[in-house]
Amino acid sequence: MQKEANSVGLTATKTFTIPDKIHLESGIEFGPVQVAYETYGTLNENADNAILLLHALTGDAHAAGYHDEKDKKPGWWDDMVGPGKAFDTDKYFVISSNMLGGCSGTTGPCSINPDTGKPYGLSFPVITIEDAVKVQKRLVEFLGVKRLIVAGGSMGGMQALEWSISNADMVSAVIIIASTSRLSAQGIAFNAVGRNAILSDPNFNDGNYYDKEKQPEKGLAIARMVGHITYLCEESMHKKFGRRFQYSDRPNFDFNIDFQVESYLEHQGRTFVDRFDANSYLYITKAVDYFDLAQKHGSLKSAFEKTKARFLVISFTSDWLFPTSQSKEIVQALIKAGRDVSFCEIESPCGHDAFLLEFETQTKIVKSFLEKGEENV
């Protein structure tokens, strides 16, 4: 842990259990649901200075600060969250929670089903972005929040959009970063490859692998490798690895790792299996694939006519997974619905990953956008 003046410092993930059942979009009544969350800053007297951060596919509740003095890395959005940072914890009560179906403290397929005493596995119900938002709503109510700002990148942006529609009266401002109102066929295809890798792992065992000696690590690692290709772009891969060899300056003439890019992907896959659950990967990618606001509300415009918030939409030039064209679709529909929206496409060579990396430009934009809301209060 590096001691920084603008860090939230040591934090801990807490849990809250929703006392009753949640009505899922699929029609199933599901419970109990435990939610893992962290908060930074203080809720004001009016309970209207909250910002809910929504994580991407494999994120967790630990958005900022360190869990332990010995931690090498802070939370996933630490560059943006802290005193004086974009999401200024001196001003705002910042909340981050693990998504429903996840594997970092919130109820998911690896949680114990109280009826059987065993992990849910594939008996866990199929969940949607709307379901995840329902769970988050119960959390913020529990925390006493009356009005809030929602912000998220990638899948987090989908949740922020859903929040603005299904809880319109609570949401004052929405920040959508590198996201979409529906994933492209190309995006679904990559998720499908990831799921297939998991499902065809010989150790997958229909999702019942938790008490087994061997886990579907190979499948999950391949899913992560595919994912990582989509988070980068040609330029960033070329810059990072080029065609360089990993261990020597010439080919090995075998099928072990030759190229640096292979080694990188292998490393990403290997480290991912230590922190993520294969079943969660199936459920959450499916939720992402199902998300389609235009289909659900008739059109994107009629979806946004239900909102009552200000919007900020940010995209990145080299992001081909959640391309600028999809952000523009959101922006144009918001304008058609008569909503206040600002849109910026940030020049970046980092691909989809840019939303976690290009924090300086994002800080400028997000800070100013939030300050405008402060004037109006």
Binding site: L312, K328, V331, Q332, A333, I335, K336, D340, V341, S342, F343, C344, E345, I346, E347, T361, K364, I365, S368, F369, E371, K372, E375
Partner: protein, 204 residues
């Protein structure tokens, strides 16, 4: 586009005087938002800007403005017909790729539109080309032929012809010469010769 600051301020004042208090306005090619901010603060306008440049967009957001990063040559299809009291195209017409399309889109989305541009018929510009035999450069047109963003330069007469061809009504004209305003002071031929910058309110 580039503008000497005195002329810029004058131009802003002219636009600010034209626009009624509390109007809903859209500024195309809004730059860093100086005009928009002025109209929002002094004229209590609800204002939206569009600009193609990331840094301009960020500056606008920092001024607390609502701004969309985009290319006005792609049109304004997300905006409904007559959505705005005024659509403004200030010193930007000559650098659009499809000026005719941009103007038609402005007239569709706005009840009224404000268009201003440097007059290529200004006598100094004509003399420059005539005597120097080179592409004119001036305070208003400081660029070289190879790096100028001004790809569709026009004269006041060209604009009159354009409006006539398309049944566009000019409801107000302001001519600026060396930092001074004159409202219809000359006959048409002299106007085209003597004004350095022209500003029109148009509708259809």
């Amino acid at each position: 586009m580039f503008n000497p600051s005195d002329s810029l301020h004058l131009n802003y004042t002219v636009i600010s005087d034209i626009i009624e208090d509390g109007s809903k306005i859209l500024d195309l090619g809004c730059g860093n938002g100086t005009l928009l901010k002025m109209l929002a603060d002094k004229k209590h306008c609800s204002a939206i800007g569009i600009d193609i440049n990331q840094n301009n967009v960020i500056e606008c957001i920092q001024k607390g403005l609502s701004v969309i990063q985009g290319d006005i040559d792609e049109g304004l299809k997300e905006f409904a017909d007559k959505d705005f009291d005024y659509v403004i195209l200030n010193q930007t017409l000559q650098s659009t790729e499809k000026p005719d399309f941009v103007i038609e889109e402005m007239l569709r989305a706005g009840k009224k539109s404000v268009v201003s541009f440097p007059n290529f018929g200004y006598w100094r510009v004509r003399f420059y080309l005539f005597f120097n035999g080179r592409m004119p450069k001036s305070r208003m047109l400081p660029f070289s032929w190879y790096d100028t963003p001004n790809i569709h330069l026009l004269t006041v007469e060209d604009f009159f012809d354009f409006c006539k061809e398309r049944d566009i009504k000019i409801t107000k004209s302001v001519y600026i010469k060396r930092g001074k305003i004159s409202k219809n002071p000359f006959n048409r031929i002299l106007t085209n010769l003597l004004c350095e910058e022209a500003l029109f309110v148009i509708e259809k």
